[in-house]
Symmetry: C2
């Protein structure tokens, strides 16, 4: 990795903000004194817990809804909790390389605000009073750069906070760090030449998934409970699944995107959305209820009017999709979903849930359509950014754009023809879904448990829902087991499938989580989250 | 006008469907026997009423909400009422040239359905039980062509009804005719080479406005109470204003567009929307309440989830804009709005309404942005359609596209740059509006009372709200008076303004209506319609 200007700026900023942690928060545990072993073990979480101080560990190990309760009742003050999470972020960074910047100054400011509010009013300032919030780097923060892991934007200074960030500050959240993503955010892996690889806390030889790579790793290792991600092809869901946490891609327009949408101004072929990642399903639902209560659509002219309408179904038909017919999931993924269904069929759920198979509709075609619409300029914008900055294209950038056969420079005429194909696919899928008589679909998130770095060639399990703009949410349902043997009798369907099957052994993916994807049609977000809540409580 | 194939097909279909009216509905008044004078008088409405039969006239003159009440109570049966409106459409067609096709077969079928439902169930089938509905030609109707006044699509057969049409059929509506529009629907006037000029019933030397030209004329002459239009630059609002009726452009996504969106597949630079036109404000509100109660977003994957949320404000601040600073409205427009404000300030309204001036933000710039985004292929699509069909471009098609300096062929890069300019304008206008502290803006719809055929060079009073996607609704507030003298002392600001001022004399625009435009920010449709309801009841 050569030392080009953007990387130097990046590292300098990050390290400077790291030093600030000890200055801003007074604690006997100084992050400057941290001694991290040269070799990080496969499972990084025990090491993480051993490196933080005893006092900090007590706070970090409080379950999220209980931590929130303690903050809202005043049992815990926001300022010391903010210090704990700032220090934890540094420890996490040293183990899995997940932070682009630490925000001790902001954390102190907003934590003080919360404490002062409670002092004065005797009640919490909002549903997230004093709750620590990690933020994917792309979100605009006033007075700081937002670069989208685009080295050409390293000094892209922001004059306002993103609309969503402001909403969360009003709800009481305390921002404490910004998190990593792959180059241009256009990969479901976690490598960027600026910061290197973000690794998976469950198995540090694996990727944490992407593009919201740092959020996945931060929450999985236990250094954050709630974070902000973004998703145009699986970027919230894949790291959530890879890291064994929760993550939700809302219907486009429900969560305001202004201030988190500036990588490709004017682009609108595929909708990128923003949404939460969390250590519990309940946090995701609370996030959505609270954010929609603010009516942020009144402040963001690109958001749709929406309000959270809780659902209380009597009976739900769940379609299950184990294999999209193009790339077959590895054995632990299929096994975990089958076990999950069997468990839920026996569980006492608050309403009737019927499972039946769901047949996918041309997901390979969806992959072709969406990869033909991600870069309608044929990737020229990426090439220019790399030329300007001197950064090299990663293999994943080549895979999705620069060497992708579907990534061609469109004329306006061919762009609209491609968008018409997209629209017809949407209309056809709507009918296809209805014809199968299901309310919800459950399925893999990726066809593997986490990801071996630099092996991804297909995002079809997630990006089909970006193409259709269907809400989808992720919950952990298990881990790879030694008994998940490779099926040696399986004959791959195509080269892609063969390459994918060849990757598998239970040793390679040891301890890696499997994330279940729960999907509903557009604007049925409430049902998707209700199912996640019910399923996760029954697990 | 040469006799090219599309025009021959068009005329043959229209005349064949006209003959069907006498065959389908049994009445002593045969449309085949109609004797229409060679010279149509300036005011066509008295002639219209004298040409229909006495029995039909009684039905046609029932005020709309009363007609609906009689149909819903069973006092009037749907089948005979359908016959009356089918015959009235033919009379209207002969006077102002407003129909592309008559639908007596469909009218009978759906009217029978309503009557049979009431017979069987003793109650109306829906809020529009048996109510006649006219439909702009572009809406898909199963088994019929939809050509969008594009001669190249004259045989563009449709396999389904538009989603909105199906919704209205479920609500009880009875479709009885399809109505005219200008070439490619891309004009706020009413001329198409296929059918010629649709004239204004209030002054037949004037245009009825466009592009929903036939709907405006049909409703103004009294041959329909409720119709469907579409609007990408003013196409519902301009004919509503020109014809002295009501018309409403909803926020994009509220009223489902599938089946009325096929002229330019895959296009999405500016959102075209569909919406109602009517003879009363109450019909518009009932339309929206009823349509949204059907939750058609569940059937149209391109619609947003929305529900009608009635508003009951205590105080409303109304900004008034008399002149956009680029093209000054003719004297009757300014006078009518000033009189309207003065009247409303004295009226007993159900809540406090405060008026204050509203300053526009660069509406000339909005016109440049939107005309640069209507045809990102530089109009090649239009040229191809004309070459294929042998139809000639109208002057209005030349004005907005083929000879418009802003209409250039974009690359994907320049398209996204132009869309970014659009987005920044949206964001800036949101702030601009807020800074002025108004809830609603009232303003002209066009800078004249109706339109002298083939004179339009600017849609800035309406298209700025398409660019911003703000809901806007139209109500009649007066007519041109002899005393509306030309202001001879006025010095035009620019060539466009000069050409516009030169058109004016009270004689040229005699009897022409002035339509007030009522605008609110995105998703505040309920407030716009509430203001229209309150204002129109106070008039």
């Amino acid at each position: 990795m050569t030392d080009y200007e953007a990387r130097k700026t990046y590292i300098a900023r990050r390290d400077e903000s790291m030093r600030l942690v000890d200055q801003v928060f007074d604690s006997p545990f100084k992050v400057a004194d941290l001694k991290v072993p040269d070799e990080i073990p496969l499972d990084a979480k025990p090491l993480f817990l051993s490196l933080v101080s005893d006092d900090d560990r007590k706070i970090l190990q409080i379950p999220p809804m209980e931590l929130l309760k303690k903050l809202k009742s005043g049992t815990l003050k926001a300022v010391p909790v903010a210090g704990v999470f700032c220090r934890a972020a540094v420890v996490a960074q040293k183990l899995v390389n997940c932070c682009t910047e630490f925000l001790p100054d902001l954390a102190l400011m907003y934590a003080k605000k919360a404490d002062e509010y409670m002092e004065k009013n005797g009640k919490p300032m909002g549903p997230f009073h004093g709750f620590p919030l990690s933020i994917k780097e792309l979100y605009a923060l006033e007075g700081r750069a937002a670069h989208w892991e685009n080295p050409d934007l390293i000094n892209n200074m922001q004059t306002d906070n993103a609309v969503l960030v402001n909403g969360l500050l009003e709800l009481g959240c305390v921002p404490f760090c910004r998190t990593t993503a792959p180059q241009f955010l256009m990969s479901i892996e976690s490598f960027s030449p600026m910061h290197g690889l973000t690794t998976n806390p469950h198995n540090t030889s694996l990727s944490s998934g992407g593009s919201s790579a740092g959020e996945g790793a931060m929450i999985a290792i236990g250094a954050s409970h709630l974070g902000l991600g973004s998703d145009i092809g699986g970027s919230i869901r894949v790291p959530a699944a890879c890291c064994g946490i929760y993550g939700y891609r809302p219907t486009n327009g429900r969560v305001p995107i202004t201030g988190a949408d500036s990588l490709t101004p004017g682009y609108n072929a595929i909708a990128g959305v923003v949404g939460p990642m969390a250590s519990s399903a309940d946090l995701i639902t609370l996030f959505m209820e609270s954010i929609e209560s603010l009516e942020l659509w009144k402040r963001d002219t690109f958001a749709e009017r929406s309000a959270w309408v809780p659902v209380n179904p009597k009976e739900v038909t769940v379609g299950y999709l184990l294999d999209d017919g193009h790339v077959k999931p590895h054995p632990p993924v299929e096994r975990a979903i089958k076990e999950f269904i069997s468990k839920m069929e026996k569980a006492q759920l608050p309403f009737t849930v019927k499972f039946k198979p769901f047949t996918p509709m041309q997901h390979e075609e969806a992959w072709k359509i969406i990869t033909g619409l991600y870069f309608p300029d044929g990737g020229q914008f990426l090439k220019d950014a790399l030329t300007n900055s001197g950064e090299k294209a990663t293999d994943q950038t080549k895979m999705i754009a620069l060497e992708n056969p579907n990534c061609v420079e469109h004329s306006v005429k061919s762009l609209y023809a491609a968008q018409d194909v997209r629209n017809k696919y949407k209309t056809a899928y709507q009918k296809h879904w209805k014809d199968q008589g299901v309310d919800v679909v459950i399925m893999p998130t990726v066809p593997s448990a986490a990801i071996v770095p630099n092996t991804t060639k297909y995002w079809g399990y997630t990006c089909v829902w970006n193409l259709l703009d269907y809400p989808a949410t992720i919950m952990p349902i298990g881990k790879v087991q030694e008994s998940d043997k490779k099926d040696e009798s399986y004959t791959p369907r195509n080269d892609l499938d063969k390459a994918h099957q060849d990757l598998y052994s239970p040793e390679t993916y040891a301890n890696a989580p499997v994330g279940l994807q729960i999907v509903t049609p557009r604007w049925n977000d409430e049902l998707a989250l209700k199912m996640m809540e019910v399923f996760s409580h029954a697990m």
